[in-house]
């Protein structure tokens, strides 16, 4: 899934292809906005705290994995259940268009905001002609 395809942000989670690890995962709702210097990625990860979150960037891919750490207490009878305990997994390809060293991420109240500065080579540059 590319970071740059402008698909409409999906309001709900979708089952994600699990890939190499066999644990079930859902793709969280996310949104990418572009500014002159960077891409701003916003991912909705309800129920995920900082210790359950893992962000890795390797080989032109940005991977975000979030584990929900809520366990239903003993003695609670479920009357109606819409949420799930499945982990989140999001993989985005960025094709080296972002500067991996300068990625900055912030998790607040279940919303992960990642700022992905564009790689230097891609910024518009004036070329002087002799």
């Amino acid at each position: 899934m590319s970071l740059f395809t402008t698909t409409a942000p999906s309001p709900s989670c979708q089952p994600a292809p699990t890939g190499s690890d066999s644990s079930p995962a859902v793709r969280p709702a996310y949104d990418v906005k572009e500014t002159a210097d960077a891409y701003a990625l916003t991912v909705r990860l309800p129920g995920v705290a900082k210790d359950g979150l893992e962000i890795t960037a390797e080989g032109g891919e940005l991977r975000i994995a979030g584990r929900r750490n809520w366990k239903q207490p003993e003695g609670w009878t479920t009357l109606h259940r819409e949420t799930s305990d499945v982990s989140f997994k999001l993989v985005l390809e960025h094709d080296a268009r972002i500067d991996v060293e300068k990625i900055h991420a912030d998790l607040k109240e279940g919303i992960l905001s990642v700022s992905l500065p564009k790689a230097e080579t891609l910024k518009p540059r004036k070329i002087a002609v002799n």
Partner: protein
């Protein structure tokens, strides 16, 4: 005559999951054509649990500040409202959500507590004493 509210428990039949998914698929597909309601009032996921002493409601509301969450209990119906403000180039937009659900049993309205953590709102509703399940032993003569 009393009108009793039944909440059917989530059935464990092999079809219940699939039916639910297909219903949701249709409702979301048609919502795009119909436009209005879905976009104006998006839904958030809600869970309802109970144990002997309390009823619990969990709502997934990521990205909302505590001040923007409203929880109201009127006559056994709990209403959760939230508004999410998104700052954007043209002055910010805000979306509001609201969902009501009926809570089983008689609730002590003044002891209801709510906590918001990691984007999940948990409302604890203590049941009134007479509503708690009690064992009554009957001696048979």
């Amino acid at each position: 005559m009393r009108i009793i509210n039944y909440t059917y428990p989530v059935s464990r039949s092999p079809y219940s999951g699939l039916e639910g998914e297909i219903n949701r698929l249709f409702s979301s597909a048609f919502a795009d054509f119909a436009g209005s309601t879905r976009a104006v009032n998006p839904q958030f996921a809600v869970d309802l649990y109970e144990d002997n002493d309390n009823a619990y409601v969990r709502a997934e509301l990521p990205g909302v500040t505590r001040e923007d969450i409203g929880v109201e209990l009127v006559d056994g119906t709990l209403t959760i409202q939230a508004s999410r403000r998104q700052p954007s180039a043209n002055g910010g937009e805000s979306t509001s959500f609201s969902r009501s659900l009926s809570v089983p049993g008689e609730i002590q309205a003044d002891k209801v507590a709510a906590a918001y953590e990691n984007g999940v709102l948990t409302v604890t509703l203590p049941k009134k004493e007479e509503s708690k399940p009690r064992k009554i032993t009957v001696s048979v003569k």
